[in-house]
Every structure is written in C-alpha cells, then in structure tokens.
Symmetry: C2
Subunit: 338 residues, 2 copies
C-alpha cells in the first residue's frame, strides 16, 4: 500500500506532513510518496531527525496558492505539488492520496484529474465528525456543491452509506437529511423533494430529517446535506468548539479553585481539549471519484496527517470507489447521472 | 409599558412564564397581561406563591398545538392563548408581546395579525446570541424564510442594523453575510448576488462574508443569513454547546481530581454552564412587523421569559418598528417590497 502525500499543502507544510508521514509508516506499515521540493523536504527531515525509511520523494517545484482559482489545478498549475500528487495518483504511482491544500482545488483535481465514478456527476466532500459517538458520523456534502438538486442529495446518501459500511464497518447506517425542522414538510423546495426521494429508496435506512442541534447526538450515521448548509454546520461546530475551549481555559484561570483544579485535572483537560478540537480530526474524503482523495484540514498537524493517511489506506484497502459505483447503479432513488 | 404574555406557550407553561412575568414586574417595573386559562393561572400563582401585583389576566380557553399547521393561527385558532395574545396586541391592549409557542405560528401571527411594515414583504426571525461578546450578535434570519432572494438578504441587513442600534445601542454595527467562504465569489447564486447588493449600500457597514467558524468570535454585530442556513447555524451552536456541556460534566465526574475540582469550581462551573446554555437566552424578535413580537425558546424557564420580556420592553420603548420602516424607505440596496 502506497499513499501519495502532497507535502506542501496546509499551513504547517512541509514539517507536519512529513512528521505525519513518518508516524504513518511506523504505525500502519504503509509506504509514502511525498510530493514537493525534494531538496527542502530532505533538509527538513534531516534537521528534525525524521526517519525517511518508507518515504519516497517526488519533485514538484511549486505550491498551489490557497487564493488561486480552484479550477487552475486542472490545467494551469502543473508545477505544483498538488497537481503532481494528483498526476501520480492518476498514473498509478500510489493507491490513494492526501492533501491539506485548497479545498476547492482538491475537489476540482479529484473530479477532473482522477475522474468521476460512473453514475456520479457531482462528487461531494464527506467529513467524519466525532460527537457523542467518538467514531463519528459522516457529514456530506460539506462544501463541494453549494447549489444542489434533490437527486444529488439522494446520491450523497447512497455514497455515504457505502463509505460508512466500508471504512467504519457500520452496517446499514442510519441516514438523515439536515433540515430546518424534523417534519417531512420542512425546508426549501429542494429539501422537501429530496426527503421524498430518500424515503422511497429501499436500499437506504432513512430515518428522516435531522436538525442542527441533534447531529452530534449519535442519532444518524450519515447526515446528508447540501454543500452550503453542510459547510455552515461543519464550520459552526468547529467555531463553537473552539469558542468553548477558550472559555473553559479562562474559567480555569479564574480564582485559586480554578488554578488548583487545572493542576488536578491536567490529563483530563488535555484529552477534552483534544477531543473538542475539530481541526485535529483526520480528513475529508472526496467521494464519487475513482480513487481515494483525502482532504486534510488546512491547519493539520502531524497527528491529523497521520489520521488522514489512515483514512486513505482504509479507502484503498476496501475498494470504496468500486463499491460506490455498484451501489449507485443499483440505487432506486434519483436519476442516473445526478 | 405593558407587555402581553402568552402564558400557555412553551414546554414549561404556565408556571415558568408566570414566574418570569413576576420577576419582570419587579425588575423592570412593567405591567404584564398574561393570556390563557385564567382559573389555571391564578391557581398556579396561588400554589407557587407568585405575587400577582402588576399582572393582569385575560382569558383564552385553548392552547396552540406545536404540531398544528402554523397558518392556522391566522383564522382557525381563535380560542388559543397565542391568538388572543396577538389580537390583544393588534388592538392596542399592550405595547409588545412574548410567546414561547410554535415558532411558525408566532411568525405567521406576527406577519398576518400584527401586519408587516411598509417595505418589508418577508419578516424574519432575529436572534441575539452571545459569543465572545457577551452582549451577543444578531443572527437573522434564523428560520422564517427557508427560500430567499438576494433582495431579502439585503433587507435583513437594514432591519438588523436598526435593531442593534436601537435595542443594544451599538452604533453603525458591523454587518456580515453568512456564507461558505470569505471571498466575494463564494456561495450559491443567491449569496453571490446578495453580497453585491450589501457591498453597494452606503448605509451599511458591510464587512463581507463570514464563515460558521467565526460567528461567535465577535467579528460582526449582525450576521445576515437565509432562514435555512441561519436556522442550521443557530441549532448547531445550541447542539454543540449542549454536547460540550455534557462532555465537561463527565470529565468532572472522572477520577478523584475531577470530583475535587467540581467542588472547588462549583460557582464557575454553574456560570459556565449557564453561559453555554443557548436555550436560556431571551428571545428572538420577529422583525419587519408593526409591533414587537418576541419568540422565546420552547424550553424557556422563568429567567428566559424575564429576558424575553425585557427585549419586548426595549423594542417598544425605542420605536424599533417605525425606525425600521424609515430605514427601509431610505435603503439603497434591494428592490422595494423585497
């Protein structure tokens, strides 16, 4: 198993991606193909005592700028580490890839360089988020498609179901539609129609609409969302968690009782903070494309890269792409090519 | 100043509304007109030693069921406490009203019984939410309009600006558009066009798009949203806060250090929990209608009712409705009648 790593994507590149790569080699026994300026990467490894056993390097001169038009990745950015990583994946130099680069460019590259699965016109970004269930739920789409049609939401459900079964082993996952109320009459026209499509698909364990306040409560395994509100839910959780972490920190600083408690509870507090840090969680798979492409959070540290690599391994090991294609062909809901 | 209270709206009615009414009379020196089954209300007051000084009672036999079609409030539910409260407000028996009843029915009643302001076809639900700034920011719309046009979003901004200036005293409030990215090219077609309208309106201090992760960070005073994603952001914050409160509680139960700390920090923990409980915060004003209508959270306790009454007082005292109408007439952005 060989995972391709865009070593120059993300805020902390290339040090953290390379540290994450090393940890992944050690823990999962995978090989890593690290893409970027090879001279810089080898220097960083040397300076930080990162063992390069199991890591191969592939040259790319440039870095894909976060503010650049995402579509540029397809044809105009061939010197960037992100493009070279995509090309290597397309050419079979690895089994799946990880990048913490521009979300838009990762989605565009996956769609047009790796190419879509049959039956899926609009790939989506999934995100495995921990809540009451520490193994998390899949939120999908969380950003690829701001404008959706009902048939797309129904396809997201089928794709999400396969991903959860294959990657987390959860059989017949509970599927819910993110909406502004639980009744089937809730939402805008797109969501009302999507509800009907989901309800009539016998291959899906559809449990109905879910509200923002319940998505962390382990009520559903797959939360289907349009890319606009899914993105807002994702980032709102991230922001709320960060805010509360900050408030809690202040609380432990206030008064003698707080300071003593901070010492007494050092270990628990660290674990709590980690658990509530939604930037630490692995990656978001681009789903609906022919190979595993995992988007890691822009501020990913070594641990987050390691987790993202683990997701890439699971994706490739379990033939997620093929199984999704098959499930879409058998799907009862939505048009073909939605 | 007299505030009309739907004493049979919400999960904890009529006890908590009446306790809240009593507290408001005492703290703000207002009069309350409590609407509902008068016999029941007086019995509850007697049994719970609630001083009824300053509280008048008005009979309504029924209660508006939460699951009933919201539009029924306009013509088909004349025996309910919610309708009688609306009617009393329309007839000038009070200056503003508070209800913790069905959100949909409160919006419909405000729109069609109290009637819209000139220049505002689509009233919206605002919500003052505390974050890094304990006085909060206004999220609007958070549920009245699932389908919006760009002109509506621009009107929400003008309305929200007036509300913040009049009710919180914050001058020239910073206005941002809730979107799935900060660049002006982000979002679906509606949000891209709304951005342009907001940017060209010289009466607005428009600071651009805001992402879910930043709304609690005191970056904007008014967060303009379509009712669908605004509702999802609101409920997601509520759910994330409840989840983290629960996790924190568990943390303090684990191990001796946690338990000792829980004792040492009893006061801080209580304050923290209160601050993070988004169900405790006063009310959501229905904005764009002729009189003050405040929707309190369904699970409001006495304190939440008291806060909602305070919002109603401020609304009425400061001629919010008139000022909004004037501001809409002067607005440079959006069509008339959006």
């Amino acid at each position: 198993m060989r995972i391709i790593l865009d070593a120059f994507g993300g805020d902390l590149a290339p040090l953290e991606p390379l540290k994450g790569a090393r940890a992944a080699v050690k823990e999962y026994g995978v090989e890593i193909l690290a893409v970027g300026d090879v001279e810089k990467m080898t220097a960083v490894c040397r300076e930080n005592n990162i063992d390069t056993k199991g890591i191969a390097f592939k040259q790319a001169d440039g870095v894909f700028d976060m503010h650049r038009d995402a579509m540029d990745i397809v044809k105009k950015a061939k010197d960037t580490s992100l493009y070279v990583a995509f090309k290597a994946l397309a050419d079979g130099e690895g089994d799946a890839m990880v990048s913490a680069g521009s979300t838009g460019a990762v989605i565009m590259g996956a769609t047009f360089i790796i190419k879509r699965l049959k039956g899926c016109k609009r790939p989506a970004l999934g995100m495995l988020m921990p809540g009451k269930n520490p193994d998390g739920f899949l939120l999908m789409d969380c950003g690829a498609n701001a404008d959706v049609r009902p048939e797309m939401l129904s396809r997201f459900a089928t794709i999400g179901k396969v991903y959860m079964e294959k990657v987390t082993g959860r059989q017949n996952p509970r599927i819910a539609l993110l909406n502004n109320g639980t009744e089937d009459s809730k939402g805008d026209d797109v969501h009302i129609r999507a509800y009907k499509l989901l309800a009539r698909d016998k291959n899906l364990n559809f449990i109905g609409n879910i509200e923002g306040r319940d998505i962390l409560n382990d009520e559903a395994d797959v939360v289907v969302a349009d890319g606009f509100s899914g993105n807002i839910a994702l980032k709102t959780i991230e922001g709320a968690a960060a805010f509360m972490n900050g408030e809690m920190k202040e609380m432990f600083k206030s008064g003698l009782g707080g300071m003593i408690s901070a010492m007494l509870m050092k270990k628990q507090l660290k674990a709590f903070k980690k658990r509530m840090d939604y930037t630490e969680y692995g990656g978001a798979p681009v789903l609906g494309v022919q190979k595993g492409v995992i988007k890691a959070h822009g501020s990913s540290d070594a641990n987050a890269f390691k987790n993202a690599i683990r997701q890439a391994v699971k994706y490739a090991e379990n033939d997620v792409g093929e199984t999704i294609e098959k499930a879409l062909a058998e799907s009862e809901s939505g048009e073909e090519n939605a």
